[in-house]
Symmetry: C2
Subunit: 350 residues, 2 copies
């Protein structure tokens, strides 16, 4: 009681991934039903007598770390909190069916504010066909914390892990990249202007698409359904939450392969491109390291290319190589760069 | 953006249960696999082709609200955070198999502190045969927040809800009640003394049992197994987290029945009794409203009494009556009181 530990190593010295790796080393799995634990978009549970697998994923959002209520409407926040979990379930090639929502609130929040938050949560539940089945509501000493767990289901043969990519597989990504990050830059800029002069109204005009990508991202459940329709089972899959670079490195590391991405193939929306130039940012860097796109990054057998080539929502951005080749980006000018993850890390940020 | 809502109703005006009821009204269940949503110790998911049901429960613990790190060792906190979720799974007559753990930490916490926390989490995993399969680690602006979700499994026929109690059923409780609350009183007393004079060492001697009940409660998984051995399926069950009074009211309300509890039957440990008198508290009140006992409160068919009567870990404390009789406590002196819940409410506390 009241004791102090002598050794002290700062969390910022290892970051979030470092901490997860550190903890994971002590974790032992003892149940035969645990098919996949830590290390993918969701855990996978498989009961021998059952036809389906259950997948479970969880995310915690902390005010001041993951969101800023000075420009994020509570309804959007609720929607996004659900969408990012559904996105993780999609990344296992599964369908989210249930969520639990735990919320800690300081007394700054009124019942009306909580209603706003839950209206967004329930809107997302409706959109994604997910049932809100439980949770916890409690008080916090400061700010708002939201913790959501999503439970999904998939036929046993359909689960896709990060670890299944094989040499010569094509690397595909849905939608476009970097837009959510540019939306955040706009919101941060207007917040700064508003702080300096509260009489100036925020100028958000003409940025609808990138703002929506930041404030109200969507999980790509229709892509999962389309791939099934096309008869395609990806060999590996992950959702793009921390940025393309970070995610392709996860796939390559866990699949023990290398990759080659082509800069000129990266799908970047025109508005993202324009705003990036205004902000003197490189659009490719935004796509690689911006994060929060919640698109799906996946690899397919080259034989499946014919089935997918006319699907406008998917872009082939490169291919998997043997592990010795490294993880590379071929730029527009033809030079080759090693890909490094500079994605967002909540523990390094501080 | 930057807008203010005009109406404002304080959360403290309705409390946690009021808020949950309020939110629940807007929740629609759309998936056939969702057998039970909000309103029991865990949600129940049942896939038609499967032999087993999946149960899911979640709890969020917030520093300064649910625990005080000036006297709660991080290792014990980790253990307790797992145990309370496993206890909720037990209350569905199910076995917890997997958990996810999300943690938000301020930069006050070192890696060594996080290791302490996880050593308790993993110890509980080992004790309860549960696998840590995922989670999230992030930073917080102040303090420590732990959100755990437990996933359990049970044969479809074995699930027990709060709503199944029937007239003439016997009301049973495991272990003893009120000890965790008395443990908390001791810790709070020593904290106050320590604050006034940091040179005085805390005097915790002779209070091991009640301190352990507060700091390191256990989920009663062995009771669930014993009941199966005895061939008993409870008609209703709940775990005692907010206090016996609050829990029996949940069973009665959801089962649409009344009850009669007998004060002289309530299992109260000798040490709890002694310390209560020292603190000038009524031991019965501690048992009814103290909370955090994590014992199981359940009802059984009277025909099952013979099977259980020699099981020392279970005490029959009353019986279920018809709904019109109300929810009553018969005191030692023979007078009859209406039971009201005065259990702990994180939102009312503030």
């Amino acid at each position: 009681m009241f004791e102090e530990k002598s050794a002290r190593t700062e969390l910022s010295s290892i970051g979030e991934f470092g901490l997860i790796n550190h903890i994971s080393k002590s974790v032992k799995l003892t149940n035969a039903t645990t098919v996949k634990g830590i290390g993918d978009d969701a855990a996978v549970i498989s009961e021998s007598g059952n036809e389906t697998n259950t997948v479970v994923t969880t995310d915690m959002l902390v005010e001041g770390v993951h969101f800023d209520l000075s420009y994020v409407p509570l309804k959007h926040l609720g929607y996004k909190a659900v969408a990012v979990n559904v996105s993780d379930v999609c990344a296992m090639n599964a369908e989210a069916k249930q969520i639990t929502v735990s919320v800690a609130l300081s007394n700054r929040f009124s019942i009306e504010a909580v209603e706003e938050l839950y209206s967004g949560i329930l809107l997302a539940c409706e959109r994604y066909g997910v049932d809100l089945v439980g949770g916890d509501t409690t008080s916090s000493l400061s700010g708002l914390i939201i913790s959501i767990t999503a439970v999904g289901i998939t036929n046993k043969a359909d689960v896709v892990y990060r670890s299944g990519a094989r040499e010569k597989n094509l690397i595909c990504v849905t939608g476009d990249l970097g837009a959510a990050y540019m939306g955040l830059q706009i919101l941060e800029r207007e917040k700064t202007i508003f702080k300096d002069n509260p009489n100036v109204q925020p100028d958000l005009a003409g940025n609808d698409y990138i703002l929506e990508r930041q404030l109200k991202p969507e999980a790509r459940i229709e892509v999962i359904k389309k791939l099934k329709e096309f008869g395609i089972k990806p060999t590996a899959m992950i959702d793009v939450s921390d940025g393309l670079a970070s995610e392709i490195l996860h796939i390559c590391t866990q699949s023990n392969v290398g990759c080659e991405l082509y800069e000129d193939k990266l799908p970047i929306d025109l508005m993202t491109n324009e705003r990036a130039h205004e902000f003197k940012l490189d659009p490719t860097t935004c796509a690689l390291n911006g994060g929060e796109d919640y698109e799906l990054l996946f690899t397919i057998d080259i034989a499946d290319f014919e089935k997918i080539k006319n699907y406008a929502d998917v872009t082939v951005i490169g291919h998997i190589t043997e592990v010795g080749k490294g993880m590379l980006l071929v730029t527009r000018s033809g030079t080759v760069h090693e890909i490094t993850a500079q994605g967002w890390d909540a523990l390094l940020k501080k």
